[in-house]
Symmetry: C2
Subunit: 218 residues, 2 copies
Amino acid sequence: MRLYSYFRSSASYRVRIALNLKGISYEHAGIHLLRNGGEQLSEAYRHINPEGLVPALVDDSADSEVILSQSLAIIEYLEETHPEHPLLPQDAASRAAVRAFALSIACEIHPVNNLRILKYLSQTLGASDEQKNAWYKHWCESGLQVLEQRLQQRPVQTPFCFGEQPGLAECVLIPQIFNAQRFQCDLSATPLLMAVYERCMALPAFQQAQPSAQPDAE
Amino acid sequence: MRLYSYFRSSASYRVRIALNLKGISYEHAGIHLLRNGGEQLSEAYRHINPEGLVPALVDDSADSEVILSQSLAIIEYLEETHPEHPLLPQDAASRAAVRAFALSIACEIHPVNNLRILKYLSQTLGASDEQKNAWYKHWCESGLQVLEQRLQQRPVQTPFCFGEQPGLAECVLIPQIFNAQRFQCDLSATPLLMAVYERCMALPAFQQAQPSAQPDAE
C-alpha cells in the first residue's frame, strides 16, 4: 500500500494510526500542502485524487489497483479487508456509537477548521488573525466539550473511548487534540478526552503516526 | 423507530431517504431549528442528543432502546440491522468509493454551510448577506464539481451514481442538491449529478422524504 500524506494533515494522521494499529506496512508518499502552491492541487496528484485533498491510499494488493480517498472511507476499507485488530466493536448499536463519535469530529469540528477554510476567511472575508483564532477555538472547544460529555455518560468508564483498546474513535480524536494543542485551545474542560490522548500517545502505533515522526516532517 | 427531524435539515433528509429506501416505517418527531431559540438546543432534546443536532433516531425494536446520532452513522446502522435493499455494494473497494462520495459531501460541503456556521459568519464576523451567499456558493459549487468529475470517470456510466439502484451516495447527494437549489447555486456544470437527481425525484422513497412532504413543513 502507498499512502499519500502530509505530516501535519489530521486526515492523513487518522489513516496512519489505523494502518499502524492493524500492523499494515505501507510506503509513504509526501504531498506538501503549502509548497508549489499546494502539491495536492497539482495535475499529477489530481490524477490520484480529483478532490485535491490528502490522504489517498493506493492498494496494489488487490486484483486490480484500488485508489481510495476520504480518511473515514479508507479506514472502513482497512477494517473490511484486514479484520484483525478490529477498530469497530461487533454489535450494530456500539458500532453506531463509535462511528457517531468519529463523525462528530470529522463533520462538525475538523472541516470548519481546515487550511482552505482559514485561508478563505482571511483572504476573501478579510478576517484578522485574531478573528481566525477565535473561529478555530470556538468550533474546536465547543465540539470537543460535546464529546467529553459523551464519555462522561458512558455506562462504564473505560481506559479508551469505547473499551479496553483504541479504535476508530481514537484514530480521529488524537489528530484533533493534536491540532487543538497547536492552535492553543483550552483543553482543561475535557479531562476524559485528554486521559485517552495520554494513553494513546504512550503506544507505538500512535507515536509512529504523529506528525513529527513522518519522513516529511519539518 | 422514532426520527427526530427538521423538514429542511439535510442530515435529517438523508436518513428519511434511507429509511424509505429500506421500507422501514417510523414515527416523526419534529424539532424546530429556529423556533424557541432552536428546539435542538433545549434540555429535553439534549437528553436525546447532547450534540444538539438533528437528526437522532431512537430504535425501540432492539433488546434495549438504542439512541443514534450523526446521519451517516445512523445509515450504516440501518444497513447493518436491515440488510434488505442494500445501500452499499458488496465488495470492499466499491463500498469505499460510495462512502468516499458520501463523505465528500458530509465532510467537505455540508458542514461549512450549515445554519450555525452561517450565523457565526454574520453575527460574529460581520459578513454581509452577499458575502454569506458567495461563501455558500463557493464551497457548494466547487465541491459538487469534484463529484461530477468522479461520475465522469466511472468506467461504466450508470443511471444512478454507482449502479442501477440508488443507495448511500444518493441519500447524501439529493439533500445537498436540494440545498444548492435553495441557495440558487449554478448547477449547469454538474449535468451528471442533476440527471441522478431527476431520476431519484421520480421515486416515491425520495418524494416522500423531501422537505415539503414532511409533517412539520412550512
